[in-house]
Amino acid sequence: MKRRNLLALMGMSPVALAGLPGIADAAEKADKSKKVAMSGDPKLTVLNPRGLPPPITLIPMAPRLSTLDGKTIYLVSDGFPGADAFLNQVSIWFKKNMPEVKTVYRLKAGGFADDDPKLNAEIKANGQAVIMAIGH
C-alpha cells in the first residue's frame, strides 16, 4: 500500500502530507517501475497478489491541554529494554525544567502491542496526559 495514496484517501491536506517527512519520498519511489522491455513485446495480464486490508476508522486526536502546569503526566513504558531508564530521564527533565509538572512512571502490562485497560483506567482517573516511550 502506498502511503501517499493512503493519506490522500484519508482526505489529508497537502500541508499535512508535507508534515510527514520521508513518507512521500518513499511512496514516490514505490510508485515507479522501470520499463525494461521493448515496446513490441506481447503483453500479458496478470493478477494482483495482495490481500485485503481492513477499513481504517479515523480516530480524532484527544483535545490538547492549555498548559501542563499542575498536571500529572503518566510516563508509560512499552516494556522494551531501556524504556524505563529513558523515561526516568524524562522525569528528571521535567523536575529540572518544569517542576510544576508531576510525573508518574508505569510499565504497561502485556506485550508491546497489547492494550492495558487497568492502566488506561488509572490514567484516566488520575492523569491529564501521557508520554509513551516506544523503541529500545
Binding site: 513518507i23 495480464t45 479515523l58 486526536m61 501521557v130
Partner: protein, 427 residues
C-alpha cells in the same frame, strides 16, 4: 482514552510508527523521535537526547513533546470517517519483462524472478482444491496486535502459489499454511524465523525430500512451498516491507524459503510428530514452529564418547545457552534417534524428560541473559548460585526426525511449537 498522548519513538522505528499510526486511524499523530538506541546508553547519554533535537523534525525534543500535548488540534487531526486502503488494480497488463520489474519494484517478490500469475495459471492452481476462489482463507498480520490483520481469499493464495513456482499438488498445503494466519516474516527486530513440519502421506505424494539434504535446496516441493509462504507473507498482509512492516535488524537468510521439514517417518523409531499432536498417521498435517533460528549440533559435548556417542549430553549442552523465551526444537537424523534408543531413550518423552531435568542454568546466569526469565513466583526466593531447569516444562523440547543417515548428526533450533493444522481440509 480522551487524554492527550505524546509518543516518543527511537528513530529506527520512524517509518513503522508513522505508517502504523495512519493504518490505525491517526495519520497525523504527533510523534517525537529520539536517537536510537536508548538500550545500552548511560543516563547522561539519554539525558543528552532530551536536551538535543528531534532527529526527524530538527526541533528541540522536549519542547516539541510539550507542544504536542498543548498545541490546539488542526481540523485534519480531528477528522473522523472511514476509508479503505488501496492495494492496487485487480490486474496488471504489460510485457513479461515489465511485469517482472513491476512486481519487483512494488515489493511483491523475494527479489528473485517469479512465475507471472496469469489467470490461466491461477485457474489451474484453483482446480487443486474444492474450495471456491472467493472463499476467505484467513487473516494474516506481520505481527499480532501491532498491525491490523488483512484477510485473503483462496484465489489470492493461488496467485502467490503460482508466483513461487508451485505446481497444483502443493496448493492444499499452502492453503493450510495460509489458514493459520502465521506470517513467515514476523516483524520483530530479532530477525525471527518460522518452520513448517510436514507429516503424513502427502510428503510422498508431493515427492518431498526427507532424506539426504532435506533442508537444503535439493527438492522442488521443499523449496517452493517455503518460497510461497514467504511471498504470501509479503503480499497477503502487507508484510515484509523493511523498516515499516519488517524490523529485523540483520534479517535472516532462512526467510527466503523458511524451514520446511518433512519428517522422515519411515526411518524414525518414534511416532510421527503429528500423531503426538492427536492426528492419525494417515492424516496430512502441517505443524508450525517459531523463534530465533537453527544451528548445527556437531562437536558438542559427549559426541566423542564410544561406542555410542552421548547424543543427549550434546543436545543438552547445545541448548543451554538458548534464550528461554523460545523452546528447543531438535531435528534429529534417524541415526541419532536410533542411537538415543540404544542409550535407553525409547520414546520422545524419555529424552524430553532427561533434557528437562539435566539441562540447567544458574540463577545468576539467567539474570544476565536477554529473553530468559526466572520461574514465575520463585524469583524472590532464588539465590544466585541456585541451579534451575533451563525450561520448566518438558514440552519446551520438541523432536523431528529428518535426514538421510549419512552421519549421526542433529540440528537444533531455539524455536517454540505453535500449532498443527490439517492439510486434507483444503483438498
Amino acid at each position: 482514552m480522551g487524554i492527550p498522548a505524546a509518543p516518543m519513538v527511537t528513530i529506527a522505528f520512524k517509518d513503522l510508527a508513522k505508517t502504523n499510526a495512519a493504518k490505525r486511524g491517526m495519520p497525523l499523530q504527533r510523534i517525537s523521535f529520539t536517537p536510537h538506541p536508548v538500550w545500552g546508553k548511560t543516563d547522561d547519554q539519554m539525558y543528552a537526547y532530551l536536551e538535543g533535537n528531534d532527529p526527524v523534525s530538527g526541533k528541540p525534543l522536549m519542547k516539541e513533546v510539550v507542544e504536542s500535548l498543548t498545541r490546539p488540534l488542526t481540523p485534519d487531526e480531528a477528522k473522523t470517517g472511514t476509508v479503505t486502503p488501496p492495494t492496487g488494480a485487480p490486474t496488471f497488463t504489460d510485457t513479461a519483462d515489465n511485469l517482472q520489474q513491476y512486481f519487483l519494484d512494488n515489493g511483491m517478490t523475494d527479489y528473485m524472478p517469479i512465475i507471472l500469475p496469469t489467470q490461466e495459471k491461477v485457474d489451474v492452481m484453483l482446480k487443486a482444491t474444492s474450495h471456491k476462489p472467493d472463499e476467505v482463507v484467513g487473516k494474516m498480520t506481520p505481527a499480532q496486535g501491532a498491525f491490523p490483520a488483512w484477510s485473503f481469499t483462496v484465489q489470492q493464495v493461488a496467485v502467490n502459489a503460482v508466483m513461487a513456482g508451485a505446481i497444483p499438488d502443493y496448493f492444499p498445503t499452502l492453503l493450510a499454511i495460509g489458514s493459520t494466519g502465521i506470517s513467515a516474516l514476523f516483524s520483530s527486530t530479532n530477525s525471527l524465523v518460522s518452520a513448517a513440519v510436514i507429516n503424513g502421506p502427502i510428503r510422498d505424494k508431493l515427492q518431498m525430500n526427507y532424506g539426504i539434504g532435506a533442508m537444503g535446496p535439493f527438492n522442488q516441493a521443499n523449496a517452493v512451498i517455503g518460497r510461497a509462504w514467504t511471498l504470501m507473507s509479503k503480499n497477503l498482509d502487507g508484510g515484509g516491507v523493511a523498516g515499516e512492516t519488517y524490523m529485523g535488524s540483520q534479517g535472516n537468510i532462512i526467510n527466503y524459503n523458511n524451514l520446511i521439514i518433512p519428517e522422515n517417518e519411515k526411518d524414525s523409531p518414534w511416532p510421527p510428530f503429528h500423531v503426538q499432536k492427536g492426528f492419525k498417521p494417515e492424516e496430512n498435517v502441517v505443524s508450525f514452529f517459531f523463534g530465533f533460528g537453527i544451528q548445527q549440533g556437531q562437536g558438542g559435548k559427549g559426541l566423542g564418547m564410544k561406542p555410542i556417542p552421548h547424543y543427549h549430553e550434546a543436545m543438552s549442552a547445545n541448548v543451554a545457552p538458548f534464550a528461554s523465551l523460545f523452546g528447543a526444537l531438535f531435528i534429529l537424523d534417524p541415526l541419532v534417534a536410533h542411537g538415543l534408543g540404544d542409550l535407553g531413550f525409547k520414546t520422545k518423552d524419555d529424552i524430553a524428560d532427561w533434557l528437562q531435568k539435566n539441562t540447567t542454568v544458574t540463577v545468576k546466569d539467567v539474570k544476565t541473559m536477554l529473553f530468559s526469565g526466572l520461574p514465575r513466583g520463585q524469583a524472590a526466593t532464588l539465590k544466585d548460585d541456585d541451579v534451575i531447569p533451563k525450561w520448566e516444562r518438558t514440552d519446551a523440547y520438541n523432536f523431528i526426525v529428518c535426514g538421510g543417515q549419512t552421519n549421526p548428526y542433529h540440528q537444533l533450533a531455539n524455536m517454540s511449537y505453535r500449532l498443527s493444522v490439517s492439510i486434507d481440509k483444503w483438498t
